[in-house]
Subunit: 419 residues, 2 copies
Amino acid sequence: MKYLEWIDGGVTAPAGFKASGVHAGVKSSSPPDKLDLALIASNVPSVAAAVFTRNAVKAAPVRLSMERAANRELQAVVLNSGNANCCAPNDMENAIAMSDAVAQLLAIPSERIAVCSTGVIGQEMNIGAILDSAPKLVRSLGRESSHSDSAARAIMTTDTVKKEFAVEFELGGKPVRIGGIAKGSGMIHPNMGTLLSVLTTDCAISAELLDKVLRNAVNESFNRISVDGDTSTNDTCVILASGSAGNAELTLDEDYGSDSWKFEDALCAVCAKLAIAMAGDGEGATHLITCVVDNAANERKAESIAMSVIASSLVKSMIFGCDANWGRVLCAMGYSGETFDTERVGVTFSSAAGEVEVCRGGRGLPFDEALAKTVLSEHDVTIRVSLNEELEPGECPMCMCWGCDLTYNYVKINGDYRT
Amino acid sequence: MKYLEWIDGGVTAPAGFKASGVHAGVKSSSPPDKLDLALIASNVPSVAAAVFTRNAVKAAPVRLSMERAANRELQAVVLNSGNANCCAPNDMENAIAMSDAVAQLLAIPSERIAVCSTGVIGQEMNIGAILDSAPKLVRSLGRESSHSDSAARAIMTTDTVKKEFAVEFELGGKPVRIGGIAKGSGMIHPNMGTLLSVLTTDCAISAELLDKVLRNAVNESFNRISVDGDTSTNDTCVILASGSAGNAELTLDEDYGSDSWKFEDALCAVCAKLAIAMAGDGEGATHLITCVVDNAANERKAESIAMSVIASSLVKSMIFGCDANWGRVLCAMGYSGETFDTERVGVTFSSAAGEVEVCRGGRGLPFDEALAKTVLSEHDVTIRVSLNEELEPGECPMCMCWGCDLTYNYVKINGDYRT
């Protein structure tokens, strides 16, 4: 087996998990084949960790799930699309009712269920449709790839592709798996969560270590993408660890052993795949943009500059137009809040079609405009910025962030989202 | 005479100022009737104050003008559109050459001239065209309205309307005037400057007071608008005070006298008119959006929340689509970084076509969708947010910020800006 092997199965790949997705009709205007209610459940109470939106306005399901995740033990996550259940009449009552219905059918305490919602803010949720569909949702649970697929589809809103990945690796001779699904297309900007994502693993791991590893993984993946700079009221990322893999339990000991690193690496890989899939599927996007900031004094500075570039409307519009107007990259770097020597900055655009260096020592270089157009016409483009700074001891000089271009369709999608 | 009277004449309205605007051909592709070089000059050395971009990448003319404005005495401002003279070969040499040429023709020291540039970043400026046109620029100086008009037009880039206002008021029986021109359409976001603007006044005023009043006025006008969240490398706002009005000199004394307040009021009024004109003329805009946050504990909080709403891509897209999706207003408030009680928030949309209350106590209200559509279809729309907080002693509960919608044309304009 390779160090990390990508496998099928999403959240049902790890041992001990089932999933389902059904059509409940949360949004009256959605077609009858649109799945909109999902459930991921573990056979046993699982060790759990979660991160939530930093938005001061938190949806009722976020507040409920925060409370329940604080116990560090969960057994299921129920999710709906079509309504955010935020700032809406009876929002907390409805979030509780949704988990109570599932709890009763699964015969587990409601406190072991996290709830996630995504969709329009401020409209009362059609809780009747959800309660009516709960028996079907629970009956449909299964551990095949197709069950994870249904759950991944049921949480999509303006997403155009489902986001689902799973990975296998070895800990002390035992195969261990991590799987994940996610949704996210608009209202995407770092500051925790930035999406709905449910992750599962069969790894035996302590609650403290799981919490720490999840935070690290989210910081290096979901918190490094931006679609539109809007941090949602509903962002949630939950991981459940069933412990069924039979490995020696990973714990937060002082030397943070190599098996823990291996688990963190694998979780980061799954989260990064989901995050990149979200950035590339940004509302209306025609390009996935990767910004690499390198040769920085430290990683924090590299990250802050890369995020500023990725989030700039002018940079995003320029990539949409396949126009190598690199001055906008320098401009966005300049308002990142970081200090750097402009006279040392280099900028290069690249893609599968080639590479074009446009700026060196903070000054424009003559470049082949036709080649630049060709390079930027690819779907996946990279903006590589070099700060040419001296590396601080013990630091990493590089960070990679992901975003998408700003297009007519972003405006169109968001000009009439409710209708 | 009314307390404040709006008058014609722009920067040439105050006594002692001349202006001109000519075609130099800075950008080879610009049509022969596009004015692109402007000059505003005082007959005498003037008291001066200025604010500049906070972007860490500062264009050469910004760095040059910062140095010269530190002397608090200026006599002229020379400006070009078509090239930002930023991160470009020979940028500082060219900024100096531009002011030297004008200085020689005006027979004043080059140190008394501020330089402003706006346009593409990173391309070498056609300094030959500017030097060749300097004699024509100086010959064209005049004190008629038409001269201010030419200067205002010469600094336009993607602007669709010129921005030019002047006001008259009385200090100790003497008529005093303030005039201003500005440009700005993209790369507009607070953090000082956010535009090019030249203001003139014939008021006799000390350098210290002028500096203080300008900073206050900019904070309450230009720093309260956002078009796209991008803070430019070239933002500059300069004011020259010739002292020709004959009023008793205003100074920074301890009680900040009522005449000083009157001057500050008038300057704020001119800056606000210019700022609102910029927001309404944002790149591709079809709506001017005013966000009023009221019943806040203090003005700083009201401002921070209003700016967060105005700058949200999702709010901007929603106004473009005339869709009363008010949840996005709450979402943007929530990530402003301010704390507030969601359960007390009220939101109302209004315009010349009427008013529609959509949220009270943090919950959606049933509202007339057809009326909401009609209200939001007007060019000027207002989003009024009430926090219903207790006012802190000595504080102002309200702030107003301005922005524009996000449209297909913003994307189009910025997808191929260079070509």
